[in-house]
Amino acid sequence: AAANLRSSALPDKVAKSAAAYLSAAPSGGKHELPDLPYDYAALEPVVSAETMELHHSKHHNTYVTNLNASLEKLDAAVSAGDVSGIIALQGALKFNGGGHVNHTLFWENLAAPEAFKAPTDGALGDMIKCCFGDFDKMKAELSAQTIAVQGSGWGWLGYNPKTGAIEGATCANQDPLQATTGLVPLAGIDVWEHAYYVDYRNVRPNYVNAIWDIINWDVVEARLLAAQKAAGKI
């Protein structure tokens, strides 16, 4: 399909299958807002139920809706062989697709404060010691980077498939970590103001420092193991 995009007259059959491929989504063609793995109030007092409801049912939902709308337009552009139209959609796809991907990862890597288990041993614990020295040093480094994001963006703990190490990174707006940097996302921290304004107002550092207590380190470890496997390191 990609090769055929260069031709000005995209054969009908190829156009349709390309469009289907490019807009592949679960549940019969449309992306859906995933359910949270917990109640809106589960992350209190670190993140309030009010924030969780706004963040999930409004913000994330809007990304999903707009992603689906952009993908429909992409279908049409691909079917029409409209390369210029395809390119024009990239901004909206990155923004809304990134927003959907990022938030889906985010909900999964959070858990109730009661469920907190510090990642001091196992594969993740060892990796943290190896790459950062200890858990506190990792938190300090990632917090500093994440707090320093200018405007809207995300802080990430990521796996580097080339070096086999884990490292901190940040991305602007909804730029997805893997597509932008090649790092595999292990844990994300949303620092768009909508993620913390209701609970922390302008004091982003308080939010970032607190969120470490509600990271789901089991999920982070599972992602690490999957990433290592995919990179052929284990």
Binding site: L54, K58, H59, T62, G91, F95, Q150, G151, S152, G153, A172, N173, Q174, W192, E193, H194, Y197, V198, R201, N202
Partner: protein, 232 residues
Amino acid sequence: NNDAVVQQFELPPLPYAYDALEPMISSKTLNYHHDKHHAKYVNTMNSMLAAAENDELKSLTALEDIILYAHQKGNVGLFNNAAQSWNHEFYWNCMTSPKNGGGKPPKQSHVSKLIQSSFGSHDEFVKQFTNAGNTAFGSGWAWLCYTSTPDNNKKLFVTKTIGAGTPLTDNDNGVVVPILTMDVWEHAYYLDYQNARPTYTETFLNKLVNWDFVESNLKKAMKMNDDKGEEL
């Protein structure tokens, strides 16, 4: 002169009471937005200036010059804080009480005439400004700017910037002067509108725009042009 005192800026007060823009923008929002966010930009900029070692930077006293300096030198930290200091002061002045604000500018004003000639209609300006505000992905600003190109083509145009971006740094192809701005960082509207940025944008245009300030910015910009020997 090693004894020269480096410029330090004061947080300008709001041009109105904290509840002056209610119910469109709450006093709660203005409190945080001005006393915390804007204040932080000014304080951080002051610290950076106080610690400056470069003689040229130390000699600058006008905020616009510091912004341009930081932009030219690629000093992102100083740029962000200086530009945001400027942007916020400008933004406060772009708004006025909903009793007088928003809607269309007076028919005989320069801005009204230039909106007609540049956009075709006030509605088209509204459409473009709304779009700019709503599609600034993430944090940013929507702007109405005046420009006069080298061939003396005077017009207004809408643009958007990301983060701390400002049209002050866009003077490459002739004059570019911002005359109106709207803050679309989430902290500008989150307490009052949550995720509903389009409602905030619409309210800003319908109820809050201080057309007197916009008109005075435009007249200043056009007069600036005059000093170069061009007609108003």
